[in-house]
């Protein structure tokens, strides 16, 4: 059990480090991919709603604690999306090739809009349409570009942890 936990922690830390230390060199107007969201979506896609929610909680907490943003702003959407993605994936044929792309597109948009509502509720004012253009669209492109590699990595890791 401990081995499996450490294995997943290392994968999460690896993706987080790539996201915060390497991806900024390729950032598009300061925006890069949210690899931890991709990991949440893909993990819940393969392991179902319950495990997906748990993974969403841990990855969101990791992101919030390590970056100093509003605490919970990543935990909340990742938990919700882990649950929803896991629930929907139960009723689908997971082998369909286009599903990672579809899941990523819907998940990225959903996370953005959940966080948008929270930030607006916190009292910050800004032009939503400009923000969508400057942040959601570049992030969507990045996430779609990296969807298959991350889904592939998580698929491999899920298989490996099931075998051990």
């Amino acid at each position: 059990m401990n081995r499996v936990f450490i294995f997943w922690f290392v994968i999460a830390a690896l993706l987080f480090v790539v996201q915060t230390a390497l991806m900024p060199f390729l950032a598009w107007d300061g925006i890069t991919a949210d690899l931890l969201l991709l990991m949440t979506l893909s993990y819940s896609f393969f392991r179902g709603a319950q495990m997906g929610t748990l993974m969403g909680f841990f990855l969101g907490a990791m992101q919030d604690l390590a970056t100093g943003t509003f605490f919970g702003i990543n935990i909340f959407p990742k938990m919700v999306l882990g649950y929803l993605c896991g629930s929907f994936a139960n009723n689908l044929f997971r082998e369909r090739g286009f599903l990672p792309i579809l899941t990523t597109a819907a998940g990225t948009a959903a996370e953005y809009f959940i966080q948008l509502v929270i930030v607006l509720l916190l009292g910050y004012k800004f032009n939503v349409f400009i923000n969508i253009e400057r942040t959601l669209l570049p992030m969507m492109c990045w996430n779609l570009l990296l969807a298959y590699p991350v889904f592939g990595l998580i698929h491999w890791a899920v298989k490996k942890t099931r075998d051990t």
Binding site: T20, T67, F71, N74, M79, Y112, I118
Partner: protein
């Protein structure tokens, strides 16, 4: 029987999930209002992650160095032409600057004013992580409390203000950039005949262009004005460049306007920063009494009302 039990378990899990989701939602608002924080867990997480970030950042730097060198070689001819032009322009600017310097010295001598020198103690640091979060702007640097850093210390580059340390860990620290919507910096317009005060805050709608707010509509702020820190508030020393006003806009129907700031620091290429660990302003020199006409001397240390000359102090 077992079906009933399974249903009961499933309902219980759903309730627990609902409770956690609502609790996390409430936590966001508590933490944003400063009523909830996790300093120890946060520091522990940063400590675990930062060594990996250091390594990845180093690898990224090397890759960036190699690619930029190759690009430099490809574009060297064009750059050479541009640099020649720039040298010519700088020569003209240098002449003008020398003129301004001479004028400045004359004016200082005229007013008998000696500007007190502000000196800073600084610790240089490398950026090892950037938050890719859409809503806030933070970076992680490779120095912490073991290097003498503390919370709220200002972070700068040679070009201007970067932000402040929001959380100093032992070997790394989180820096809240001036682009973060939670950041507010007391600033003023550097132009001598303006000196308008305002607060620079990050703008979620335009992440790389913060706004100078709370400027009255008739205040003298123009596009191109240099904005510097005011020194009010005690976090940022006075006179550090924040940026230039690129646009001045009215705030809806109110009596205020705001300026959109083009920051002095290029945050997209930020690699090295300096943290101001101490700033000390040299105390003003003691006043020297003017020379007095022989035969009418008075003792300057004597109280003003002594000797029956009551109105002398004013």
């Amino acid at each position: 029987m077992s079906r009933v039990r399974r249903e009961h378990d499933s309902n219980r899990k759903l309730w627990i999930l609902l409770f956690v989701v609502i609790a996390v939602f409430c936590l966001i608002f508590f933490s944003a209002r400063g009523r909830f924080s996790t300093p120890y867990t946060s520091r522990a997480m940063t400590m675990v992650i930062s060594p990996f970030q250091r390594v990845a950042s180093w690898v990224g730097d090397q890759a960036h160095w190699v690619t930029s060198n190759i690009w430099d070689i490809i574009t060297v001819h064009e750059q050479n032409k541009m640099l020649r032009n720039e040298v010519a322009q700088l020569r003209v600017q240098n002449l003008q600057a020398n003129e301004a310097l001479a004028e400045n010295e004359r004016l200082r001598a005229l007013w008998g004013y000696k500007q007190s020198a502000v000196k800073f103690d600084m610790v240089t640091a490398r950026v090892i992580g950037r938050e890719s979060d859409t809503w806030t702007r933070m970076i992680v640097i490779n120095k912490g409390t073991m290097d003498g850093l503390e919370d709220d210390m200002p972070v700068v580059t040679e070009k201007g203000l970067v932000g402040r340390i929001s959380e100093a860990g032992p070997y790394s620290s989180k820096v809240q950039l001036i682009l973060d919507p939670r950041s507010s910096v007391g600033t003023l317009v550097q132009r001598g005949n303006s000196r308008v005060f305002g607060i620079v805050e990050g703008d979620s709608g335009n992440p790389f262009m913060p706004r100078m707010k709370n400027i009255s509509r008739n205040a003298d702020v123009e596009e191109g004005d240099m904005i510097v820190t005011s020194g009010f508030g005690g976090v940022y020393p006075k006179g550090i460049a924040v940026g230039t006003a690129s646009k001045v806009e009215n705030d809806g129907d109110g009596l205020l306007k705001h300026a959109v700031i083009e920051t002095a620091v290029d945050f997209q290429t930020l690699e090295d920063v300096a943290v101001i660990t101490a700033s000390r302003e040299a105390p003003p020199e003691p006043l020297v009494p003017p020379e007095q006409t022989p035969g009418t001397e008075t003792n300057p240390t004597e109280p003003a009302n002594a000797g029956g000359n009551g109105g002398a102090a004013n």
